[in-house]
């Protein structure tokens, strides 16, 4: 805000610090401490989970083929790192590909549904019905059409993740204030004008919020398809490991999916915060 020359704080008085400033300083320190705690909290909680899990397994001597210890799972991650790397790359590829298709399709359909009440009424039951179908039931159909492997995984990831994008984009567009619409219409704005100038920017927070949900759902879709019909990907790796009673490797696969999910979620979280600063008024 460079154009604001006006109110500046007066220069700090020399000599002993006035009580107000001192209080401010301790408060600042407390805030900083609070900040550090906040940053550490997720790490503490996650490590805590692993510690408890490890203790339960050891304390009750749970056999490895029922529930492996986290340490055994970490060892498996390292031991099978080449295979895991290969399959994780495949899963990430199918997930992101399906997700990208979902974004493009979801935005287009969301724009259509959100800008017309008639289209909304027409498509709504179909969308809800489609979303209610368990996607695992769709995989056999996709396999019949496209064979096993990459394509059904991409499509399952797409099918499972486009719905929240459609709903959110449509909601963002449909909740435009009627007064604002009147103002714009009276200026001679076309539907397209209203969509571009107001609709899309307004729908942005809704859109970015849906991306976080969609990317995690996309992982569900791709891994699901891989477990049923693929010879590549983390899903396949886990299936084949479980058929060999290699439970540490199964859990290693789970952890890798979880980590990929967290990383992707965080990426979109950051993008969201950046793109829609105005909506959170930080």
């Amino acid at each position: 805000m460079s154009t604001e020359p006006a109110v500046r704080q007066p220069p700090a008085p020399s000599g002993p610090m006035p009580p107000a400033a001192r209080r401010k300083k301790t408060m600042g320190r407390r805030l900083a401490e609070h900040d550090a705690t906040k940053k550490a909290a997720p790490w503490v909680a996650t490590i805590g989970l692993f510690v408890v899990w490890e203790m339960i397994c050891r304390g009750f001597s749970v056999p490895e083929y029922i529930l492996p210890t986290p340490s055994a799972s970490f060892v498996a991650v390292w031991q099978y790192r080449d295979a895991i790397w290969l399959h994780a790359a495949q899963t990430l590829y199918t997930t992101v590909a399906g997700f990208i298709i979902a974004v493009v399709f979801g935005v287009l359909l969301g724009a259509l549904v959100g800008s017309s009440k008639t289209i909304y009424d027409a498509l709504n039951p179909m969308l809800i019905g489609f979303n209610s179908v368990p996607k695992v039931a769709v995989v056999p159909i996709l396999v019949m059409w496209f064979g096993i492997g990459t394509v059904p995984a991409i499509l399952t990831a797409f099918l499972i993740s486009f719905f929240p994008i459609v709903v959110n984009v449509a909601t963002g567009l449909a909740t435009l204030e009627p007064e604002l619409r009147d103002v714009l219409r009276s200026l001679g704005a076309t539907r397209m004008d209203i969509l571009v100038k107001v609709g899309f920017p307004r729908a942005q927070p809704f859109f970015f919020a849906s991306l976080k949900i969609a990317i995690t759902l996309a992982f569900v879709g791709s891994v699901l398809s891989e477990t049923v019909a693929s010879n590549k990907g983390i899903g396949y790796l886990m299936m084949s490991a479980s058929s060999k009673f290699n439970m540490p490797l199964v859990f290693a696969g789970l952890m890798v999916i979880a980590v990929m999910g967290i990383v992707m979620y965080e990426i979109f979280n950051r993008i969201e915060m950046r793109a829609t600063k105005w909506a959170t008024r930080g």
Binding site: M1, S2, T3, E4, A6, E177, E179, L180, D182, V183, L184, R185, S186, L187, G188, A189, D193, K197, V198, P201, R202, Q204, W278, A279, R281
Partner: protein
């Protein structure tokens, strides 16, 4: 009355087939440059009147003529402002005010080449309502009164011949509201556009308008047309003079009898 700028001739309005009438037998005639206030009990169809005159809604019966032409579609010589300021939170104040220029012709096609000239115009307008220095602030960094000032600027940037205001100051505190009356009055005296102000604040109507229309309960009908001869510019002091107070009393009695009926 052939020189009227806005002419409503026995207009009736029904929102939907089978609904009750929202407006009945409404006849108005407004000169160019006139400041008109429409007052009435809530739900009397004041907002319907706005939609009719701006062409957002066609009359069920009768004619609406603005600037010599029958209104059938939204007319672009109008600027509008509502109680909710509806400034866009992702745009700075300056960019918000420039919005109409991106839509309305001929500015739309000229905007890119003459950007500097238009920005200068927007800054001047902001300065007129006392918002210099707020150009790069976002709407949520402005107070409610400042937002409404910016809202007025947005309604006026494309130099509309007609300004439609639907209870623009309804959500403000009393002090801020009276400041904005002065701001609006001086804009109007400077630029000489026609104003239709819909309000339920009788003092506001008496302070600002040349002509005050009192409307009945739904279905809305115009009951009284009252000229307001008080000298311009009206000030806070004017509002304590006997003629002003009498006018407000008179309007209040009208409204009371409407509500009782």
């Amino acid at each position: 009355m052939s020189h009227a700028f806005i002419e409503l001739d026995r207009v009736r309005l029904r929102y939907r087939e089978g609904d009750d009438l929202a407006l009945e037998q409404t006849t108005m005639s407004i000169r160019e440059g006139e400041f008109v206030a429409v007052v009435g009990p809530s739900g009397c169809g004041k907002s319907s009147l706005m939609k009719l005159v701006t062409g957002l809604m066609p009359p069920t019966e009768g004619n609406v003529i603005v600037a010599g032409q029958e209104v059938t579609d939204p007319i672009s010589i109008v600027g509008m402002a509502f109680q909710a300021s509806t400034l866009l939170p992702w745009r700075t104040t300056l960019d918000n005010i420039m919005l109409p220029l991106e839509i309305v012709q001929p500015h739309r096609s000229r905007l890119r080449k003459h950007k500097a000239e238009y920005i200068e115009k927007a800054r001047t307008l902001l300065a007129e309502v006392g918002l210099s220095g707020c150009e790069d602030k976002f709407p949520w960094e402005l107070s409610g009164g400042m937002q409404q000032r910016a809202n007025l600027c947005r309604a006026l940037i494309h130099e509309p011949r007609l300004l439609m205001l639907d209870e623009p100051f309804g959500a403000l505190d009393a002090f801020t509201r009276e400041e904005l009356w002065d701001a609006l009055q001086s804009l109007w005296m400077e630029h000489k556009f026609t104003v239709i102000l819909v309000t339920h604040d009788l003092r506001e109507a008496a302070y600002l308008a040349d002509t005050i229309y009192v409307m009945s309960k739904r279905p809305g009908r115009i009951l009284v047309r009252r000229e307001n001869e008080l000298a311009r510019p009206r000030t806070q002091d004017t509002s304590f003079t006997p003629p002003f107070v009498d006018l407000v009393h008179e309007l209040r009695d009208e409204i009371r009898s409407v509500r009782a009926s």
